[in-house]
Amino acid sequence: MSATFEAENLSLAFGKVVPFEGVSFSVDAGEIFAIIGPNGAGKTSLFNTLSRVYQPQTGTLRLEGRDLLRSRPRDLAALGVARTFQNLSLFAHMSVLENVLVGRHHLMRSGPLAAGAWFGRTRREEREHGFKAQEALELLRIADLADTPVSALPYGQQKRVELARAITMEPSVLLLDEPVAGVASQERAAMAQVIRDVHRSSGVTILLVEHDMNMVMSAADRVMVLDFGKVIALGTPPEIQADPAVVNAYLGKAAS
């Protein structure tokens, strides 16, 4: 298997605050790669760096051999990277369908002039992509909410909208930041199932930050553990569960 994501010696600092330091890992194409760690371990900061919101001070970051540190956040979609956010980044006043359609922005072509005329290609394009977006909604079983403004939905369903949006971007790499956090436990299994389905059907590479250990251990191919901004372990779920450092730093605490 070839490496899709390669991070080497990444460090990020805001003044004296150092969210993470010297982080290296590589993710293989088609893999589900989970990142876990206690609160404040630097997981989300790492994610924000991967998705180019933060600029690290040192290290390299490659996507299929390409230097990602030179890309801006808006370039990632075209490179095939999609992400979801821990605290959601939905457009509250737009409808569910519109939110998802923004995810297809980089796949569409029509400009402001063609849009205004609404003839031919623009209309066709809107329709085709509307169908695709609708498919993503159906996959997450929220198709009936297409025209509802996102702000009117409960949190769990908003999480689904965001996942639908990320999926509809047709990414080769999906960065999921706590996709089931705050979701009612009976819904969690369904969400996890969707993620697995998408992974199986499209072969997308998934990087996952998650607290739900059941989900991580059942879904991930490999797990990386961060603590105080440093990698303390990296391996398959069984290896991680057996790692004493992890048990001490994280699972031990969680179990207590």
Partner: protein, 366 residues
Amino acid sequence: MTQVTPVRCFSALLLVACLATPIVMSPGFVSVCVFVLIAAIGAQGVNVVTGYAGQLSFGHAFFLAIGAYTAGVLGGDHGLSALIWVPAAGIVAAVIGALIAPTAVRLRGLYLSIVTIALVLVGQYLFVNLDGLTGGAAGRSIPAFRIGTLDLSPGRELQVGPWQLGRDQLYYYVTLVLLVLVCLYVRNLGRSRVGRAMLAINEGELGAAVLGVNTTRVKVVAFALSAFFAGIAGALYGSYLSYVQPDQWSLILSVEYVAAVIIGGSATVFGPVLGAIVVFALPAVIEKLPFLHDTGVAPANVAAIIYAVVIIAVLLKMPRGLIGLVDTFTRRISTPNKLPPSAGDGGLPAEPPAVLAPRLGRSQHP
């Protein structure tokens, strides 16, 4: 099959009223309407940049002026037809807007707003000094709208059936047609890729960027489109007013346009039109109230106070703007099974009434 619904009936009535206004109403009223129609065209420009893309810009007066002076130079100095100077006014303004925008959109929030205020003041300074184009501080005349033999100069008229249409009536119909075209454009923009990207930027620039939206480019497009509509409105405004001076392109003018959009309803198709009616016609209407003339106070001042109170009341009571009232109204007169899904109470980007504007997604429903 076209069904007869209460909303359709009401819309048809409204359409007839719009078309009949110049024939049945007094010239003074028609004159007010022409200014409102022109302002509504310009307000759609503000709607694109401020309503959709969320960039609070006070630069509109500058682009209105560019449009008016383009009309003056092409239509007046070179005697070209309105078929040329109306689009040219929009294009020149849009090009200037697109040149300025990349610098301006680097700034966020109110910093951007204040830089656009600078644009208005620097513009007035330029207009005073570019005598050759603008007539300097004393001003210049702008030609009447003229296409071939259709000439809207004072003293010309058109016989249509039993009706003799004079300058004001003709300006009314010409601006009405242009406004309809502009509204159609804005409607289409709003449901297309670029319009969605603008709305996304409005709600969270970084969030939009992560989804692959080139935020800088979309904002520049919004500015250019906004300037385009302002240019056309400015050309018509100057042409109908016939004489313009640098003093007129003031911050107050920009403010009126922005107020129209926010009061009417941002990021909606008809909100800015409603807002333009309130902002540009309300003071004139209030001043006509007979009881104001017995108070010994200038009616214009009383009108200004009422106007301020109305703006505050609208903003306090109708967070979505006046369009919210219209939505409620159309929903009420619609049959219950046509009710759109509950819209929640937030200031969501209201669409035109659902029955008038079925959306892409809705047609997929079984």
